[in-house]
């Protein structure tokens, strides 16, 4: 799933490890989410959204909205 995690992380000058520690996952998990190789569960997506103090849809791009825009 496309997302803005890398941008939000970069704005705070956090490394992947910094973010991983804040959301209590491994650095590899952060990397997999950022690169769109893994879609986080809803609880983890909420944890990420709460950390950045933004709604989930501002961080993760809905695949259905993305495809409807393409149409």
């Amino acid at each position: 799933m496309e997302n803005r995690l890398r941008v939000l992380r970069a704005q705070r000058s956090w490394s992947q490890q910094d973010l991983a520690e804040r959301i209590e996952v491994s650095r590899q998990s952060v990397n997999a989410i950022e690169t769109g190789k893994y879609d986080p569960s809803l609880p983890l997506a909420f944890r990420i959204a709460e950390l950045f103090d933004r709604p989930i849809e501002e961080i993760f791009v809905s695949p259905s909205r993305r495809s409807s825009k393409a149409i």
Partner: protein
């Protein structure tokens, strides 16, 4: 594989179970070879080496329960699915080859060996498809 706290616990369990397996196997083989086993204990001693192997399956299950990192857990589940598919495919192919008299009969526990080998195959597939942390 990513070394989480749950992974470290799993590793220790597997190490202890492997030691137990070696001890039980050597003990059982020695006992049978030297006819030290009373007939009433033959079945329990024969299955003694199987118990730590069953313990390893339990340890894998505990790992899946204890692993807090959902991505890492997903990787392990993928490995287990690959292992199961690989082992069952091997057993199916071997079974038919055996039926038609093209290969010798294989002991049932080779299925477990194929399953553990399949875990390695799953790790490689993870590595190739999702990259770092995949093995």
């Amino acid at each position: 594989m990513i070394r989480t706290a749950a992974w470290k616990r799993y590793n220790w369990r597997v190490i202890w179970l492997s030691v137990a397996y070696a001890v039980f196997l050597i003990g059982a083989v020695y006992s049978f070879k030297h006819a030290l086993v009373p007939s009433v204990l033959k079945y329990p001693i024969a299955i003694l080496p199987a118990i730590p192997i069953i313990g390893i399956f339990f340890a894998i299950g505990r790992y899946l329960v204890e692993e807090q990192d959902e991505y890492v857990r997903m990787l392990m589940v993928r490995q287990i699915l690959w292992a199961s598919g690989f082992a069952l495919s091997c057993a199916t192919v071997w079974g038919f080859l055996d039926n038609f008299g093209l290969v010798g009969h294989a002991d049932g526990y080779y299925m477990v060996i194929a399953w553990f080998f399949g875990l390695g195959v799953g790790g490689m597939v993870n590595k190739l498809t999702v990259g770092e942390g995949g093995c």
